[in-house]
């Protein structure tokens, strides 16, 4: 079964200040959606919310076809302890740990998948290197490989190409498209509007509130981008309590 995410009037925030305000809509099963918007628009917050890392201040998230713990989530800044002595192969194979269980042995099958994943992100030959010796971009590719091994129905990527060169970005974008072909649901936060236009059929343009959500051509129209750019980033300490009711979106 394909995974879908339905947001029902969801508000996420920090210390009662909304970062994502009254958002409703659905990431359809098998869709490939980009989330775009200015800095501080709530893009990462929304992904964290879907991944179950933070709870909404109000509203509801409904997942179908996938359990929260089965979501593959690649955060913008992974809390990785880079000095930890672990090889690239071991790190990527950890993506298969749900099959192996917490205590079981990592099987040949998972190791093989890990090797394939490493090859498809262009890291062949790095299998036995300690993760700490990778460059920033290489480390990001290794994390991408781990997502490949996780084999999840729902994949959340936060700025996956931030430190990656154009050749690898092209390779990884091809993987995204392949994932969609396999029926997976992919949601990625991206800044590069050109990449969004070429590779993502649908887009959510976010500026704390939803500016546009639909086919990419529609969502990224100049007037929408202008509206998004006008968003005020700062919170107000004396902002009044939001009175918007259930019907607001």
């Amino acid at each position: 079964m394909n995974a879908a995410v339905r947001l029902d009037n969801v508000t996420f925030g920090y210390r009662r200040h909304p970062a994502v305000h009254h958002l409703s809509g659905t990431f359809e099963a098998g869709s490939l959606t980009a989330i775009a918007g200015p800095n501080g628009a709530g893009k990462s917050t929304l992904l964290k919310g879907i991944a179950g890392e933070i709870r909404p201040l109000s509203g509801e998230i409904a997942l179908t076809g996938v359990a929260t713990r089965d979501i593959a989530y690649l955060p913008q800044i992974a809390e990785i302890e880079r000095s930890f002595p672990i090889t690239v192969l071991d790190m990527v194979a950890l993506g298969g740990w749900r099959e192996a269980g917490l205590f079981g042995r990592i099987g040949k099958d998972v190791l093989k998948r890990a090797e394939t994943a490493i090859a498809s992100v262009g890291l062949s030959g790095f299998e036995d290197r300690p993760v700490g010796t990778l460059s920033g971009g290489q480390a990001q590719r290794a994390l991408f490989a781990r997502v490949l091994v996780q084999d999840s129905r729902l994949i959340l990527l936060d700025e996956p190409f931030a430190a990656i060169d154009s050749r690898t970005t092209a390779d990884l974008l091809a993987i995204l498209t392949r994932w969609q072909g396999e029926g997976r649901t992919v949601i990625a936060v991206l800044h590069d509007h050109d990449a969004v236009r070429t590779h993502f059929p649908s887009t959510l343009l976010l500026a704390r509130e939803c500016v546009a959500w639909g086919p990419t051509v529609e969502a990224l129209r100049p007037e929408h981008l202008l509206t998004a750019r006008r968003m005020c980033e700062a919170f107000h300490d004396d902002a009044p309590i939001c009175q918007a009711g259930e019907g607001h979106s």
Binding site: R69, P75, A78, E79, I80, E81, F84, I86, M91, L94
Partner: protein, 286 residues
């Protein structure tokens, strides 16, 4: 030869060596993980934290291995739980809450021993008497080492994940809290067992020094554990020999031997030792 192996003809010294070997297998892997988690000082803090439990047991039951073990475990686990819980429900980080709780515990323990015991007994608890270990103490050390290795084998992968990528462990649904707590319990267990041989202050030395030194010899977690176990056994062996001939207290001599191993590793260790910064090898082609 006799200079080296002669001391072990004395059964007390041989038993002390047996205790060190058990401590090596039980304590060194824990030390390595503490270093990898960048929480090397937690061992030190928890070693102080077990004192009031040991003291209370000592006040009521004298030098009873069983009761001092139970008391130390209870006090150590209480401090570990309280500080872990405090750091999870407040904005304080674990090191801050641990610092607060362990110092309360240490003050309480010192007060108890000072009120009900003698200075000599306080020194015994703080620095241990490795040459006068009763059978029960030796069995405790061996038992804890066995249990620690079994538990470590079981939680090795989640523990590595918790050190390396806690966010991933969280997103995969299993909170790090459980693994975190299991690991802290192992630290306490290891310290309580080490205290039987070396006293509360020196036990942490034999757990941490070889573990820190091992970082200069290996790039893998498994390799570091192996090196640390080897160094701990060597420190116990050499320390006992030197103490026998020089007439120094064996507990501190063992820990100082481990200290020398650390300094040597720091100087010439192939993985980031100082020598590597001075002697510069010519670079490769690719």
């Amino acid at each position: 030869m006799d200079w080296i192996f002669g001391p072990f003809a004395d059964p007390a010294t041989a038993r002390a060596l047996a205790a060190c070997i058990a401590l090596a297998f039980g304590g060194a892997p824990i030390g390595v993980f503490l270093v990898l988690r960048r929480t090397s000082l937690i061992g030190d803090a928890l070693s102080h934290a077990i004192l009031p439990g040991v003291a209370i047991a000592f006040v009521f039951a004298g030098f009873s291995v069983l009761w001092m073990t139970i008391g130390g475990l209870a006090a150590g686990l209480a401090v570990a739980i309280l500080s872990a819980a405090a750091s999870r429900v407040t904005t304080l980080r674990e090191d801050a809450s641990l610092a607060a709780f362990f110092i309360i515990s240490l003050a309480l323990g010192t007060l108890l021993v000072a009120t009900f015991g003698t200075d000599d007994e306080l020194l015994h608890i703080l620095f241990g008497k490795v040459l006068e270990m009763p059978d029960a103490a030796l069995m405790t050390v061996a038992g804890v080492a066995t249990a620690t290795m079994a538990v470590l084998a079981l939680i090795y992968r989640p523990l590595v994940l918790e050190c390396f990528d806690p966010g991933f462990l969280r997103s995969a649904g299993l909170t790090g809290a459980l693994v975190h707590f299991a690991f802290l319990s192992l630290v306490v267990l290891s310290l309580v067992s080490g205290f039987q041989a070396l006293g509360t202050l020196m036990a942490v030395g034999l757990m941490m020094l070889p573990a820190i030194a091992a970082r200069f010899w290996s790039d893998s977690a498994g390799g570091q554990i192996g090196v640390a176990v080897g160094l701990t056994i060597a420190a116990g062996f050499l320390g006992l020999v030197v103490a026998h001939h020089a007439g120094t207290p064996p507990e501190t001599t063992i820990v100082l031997t481990a200290g020398v191993f650390y300094l040597v590793s720091l100087a010439v260790g192939p993985r980031g030792g100082i020598a590597g910064r001075i002697v510069r090898l010519r670079h490769l082609e690719a």
